[in-house]
C-alpha cells in the first residue's frame, strides 16, 4: 500500500496536487496518506511525484486491500475475469459473447464515478436495491464485485469489506425489458441514501439504426434520453462462428 516515509518527506506538499481522491493530508510539517481515504490507485507512485522519493509502497496486507488496489488501478488485471481495469465486459464483446440478448437490458452501474470514490457499504446499498427490483446480478466469473457476495441474488456483500474505499467499482446485472422501469425507479430511490455518485449505463440490443423502443420508459420516469453511448458496431465474429 502507498505510504509516505516521514523521514524523507520535507513537507513541500507537491504530492497533494497529484492525489486522485484527496487522501494526502499535511500535519503542519509532513505529509501523510490517510489509509481510510486512500484507494491504492498508485497514481502518486506511477507519476513519481515526490522529488525526495518519500512515497513508498508496502505489501497489501489482506484480500480486501488487494481487491481495493485491483479495482482502483487500471493497469492491473483482475485475477478472475482476466480483464484490466475494473474487470467487466458490459457491451464490449456482446457481439461475440451474446451476454445481453434481445428482450434483456444490462446494467453497468459505475459506483463512485466520476472521481468521488465509493465505500463498499454504498455499493452494497445500490446492489441490494437492484436485486429487490428484480435485476439478476452478473456472477463472479464476469463481475469482480460479485466475488464479495455470498449470495448474488441479494446483492449483500461480506461484512468485512464494507468500510473499504475504492476509486470505483461496477455493479453489473440484467433484467427483462419490461422490468426496466421498476429497476430505474429503485435506482432513483436509493440515490438519496448513499454518500457518493454513480454513473448509469444501460446495455441493450438495438436495430440497425441504433434504436430500441424499450428506452421509451425513461420518459415516464422523467429521466432524460441519453445523448452518449458506447456502440458495439457488430464486427466481432459471434461465438457460434468463432
Amino acid at each position: 500500500m502507498a505510504r509516505i516515509n516521514a523521514e524523507k518527506c520535507v513537507g513541500c506538499r507537491i504530492c497533494q496536487t497529484y492525489c486522485s481522491v484527496e487522501a494526502i493530508g499535511f500535519d503542519g510539517q509532513k505529509c501523510f496518506i490517510d489509509p481510510d481515504q486512500c484507494v491504492e490507485c498508485y497514481v502518486c507512485l506511477r507519476q513519481k511525484v515526490c522529488p525526495r522519493g518519500a512515497i513508498e509502497v508496502s505489501p497489501l496486507d489482506n484480500f480486501y486491500k488487494e481487491f481495493q488496489h485491483m479495482m482502483s488501478d487500471p493497469v492491473e488485471n483482475h485475477p478472475v475475469t482476466g480483464v484490466t481495469g475494473r474487470g467487466t465486459e458490459e457491451v464490449k464483446t456482446n457481439d461475440v459473447s451474446g451476454r445481453v440478448k434481445r428482450g434483456e437490458v444490462g446494467f453497468a452501474i459505475d459506483m463512485g464515478r466520476p472521481g468521488l470514490g465509493v465505500y463498499l457499504r454504498d455499493a452494497e446499498k445500490v446492489a441490494m436495491a437492484l436485486c429487490k427490483a428484480g435485476v439478476k446480478l452478473t456472477p463472479a466469473e464476469h463481475s469482480p464485485l460479485a466475488a464479495l457476495m455470498p449470495d448474488i441474488t441479494t446483492g449483500k456483500l461480506v461484512e468485512d469489506c464494507l468500510n473499504y474505499r475504492l476509486l470505483s467499482v461496477i455493479i453489473e446485472g440484467k433484467c427483462r425489458e419490461e422490468e426496466l422501469g421498476k429497476a430505474l425507479a429503485a435506482l432513483k430511490e436509493v440515490e438519496s441514501q448513499i454518500d457518493t455518485v454513480f454513473s448509469v449505463g444501460l446495455i441493450m440490443r438495438v436495430d440497425e439504426n441504433g434504436q430500441n423502443p424499450a428506452i421509451g420508459c425513461l420518459d415516464d420516469l422523467g429521466i432524460p434520453r441519453p445523448h452518449r453511448g458506447k456502440v458495439n458496431v457488430g464486427l466481432g465474429r459471434p461465438l457460434a462462428e468463432a
Partner: protein, 207 residues
C-alpha cells in the same frame, strides 16, 4: 469497464471526441492477438487517431509507438481517440474490410457515432446508453474540471492537478497544448483527447 461512456462537457465539444476500442473475448479470441492489434493500430493511425495506447504500456503521447507495439501481448487492450466523424468512418470501413473478427466499440455522442456507422456501412449490434451521473452530484468538481477529468474514465487525472495546469496556462507558464499533453500522461489507456482538452483550456483561460 464503462470508462469512455460518461464523458461530460459542452455537447459541441463532445462531438469532436470519439473513442475507439478493439476487444478480445476471454476464451474465444484472446490468444495470439498481436497481429490483429497491429492491424487495428495501423488503421487508426492511417485515419488520424490523435492518441492511442495499451493500458499495459501507456499512451502514445508518453511512449514511442514502436515500444507500445513491441510490448503488445494477449493481455493488451488497444484503444484510442478520433476528433472527427470522417476519421471514424474511414477506420470502420477498413476494419470491416479486414474482417478480423474482434469486437469493435465506438464511444461518443450517439447522433455522431450512429451517423458514422451508417456512412461506414456497419450495423450497430448493442449499445451501452449513458444515463449520466446520479447521487450526490453536489460533491463533484466544477463542470470544466469534470469535462477534463472524465476523459480518463479510470479517473487517473486528479482534479487538483487540472486546476494547477489551468493556472500554469493562465499565467503564461505553458501553452494550452503543453498543458493538455501533460494531463494526457495520466491516462494509461490512450483515450484522453488532448486536442479537445487544449480547446477546453483555451476557452477557460482565453489564451
Amino acid at each position: 469497464m464503462t470508462h469512455s461512456l460518461h464523458r461530460s462537457g459542452d455537447i459541441e465539444s463532445q462531438k469532436k471526441d470519439f473513442v475507439w476500442f478493439m476487444y478480445q473475448t476471454k476464451g474465444v479470441n484472446d490468444v495470439g492477438i498481436k497481429p490483429k492489434a497491429l492491424a487495428f493500430i495501423e488503421a487508426a493511425e492511417a485515419a488520424g487517431s490523435v492518441n492511442w495506447g495499451d493500458v499495459k504500456t501507456g499512451p502514445v503521447t508518453r511512449f514511442p509507438a514502436e515500444e507500445i507495439k513491441a510490448k503488445l501481448s494477449d493481455k493488451s487492450r488497444i484503444r484510442g481517440v478520433f476528433t472527427r466523424r470522417e476519421q471514424v468512418v474511414e477506420f470502420l470501413k477498413r476494419i470491416k474490410e479486414e474482417d478480423l473478427g474482434m469486437s469493435v466499440v465506438i464511444s461518443g455522442v450517439l447522433d455522431e457515432v450512429l451517423a458514422a456507422c451508417r456512412e461506414a456501412g456497419v450495423k450497430p449490434h448493442s449499445i451501452n446508453f449513458s444515463l449520466g451521473v446520479w447521487g450526490r452530484k453536489e460533491k463533484l468538481p466544477d463542470d470544466v474540471t469534470l469535462s477534463i477529468t472524465t476523459m480518463c474514465g479510470h479517473h487517473m487525472i486528479p482534479p487538483k492537478f487540472v486546476e494547477y495546469i489551468i493556472k500554469q496556462v493562465d499565467s503564461g507558464k505553458m501553452t494550452p497544448e503543453q498543458g493538455a499533453n501533460r494531463l494526457s500522461d495520466f491516462c494509461y489507456c490512450g483515450i484522453f483527447n488532448q486536442v479537445r482538452c487544449a480547446e477546453i483550456i483555451k476557452n477557460q483561460t482565453g489564451k
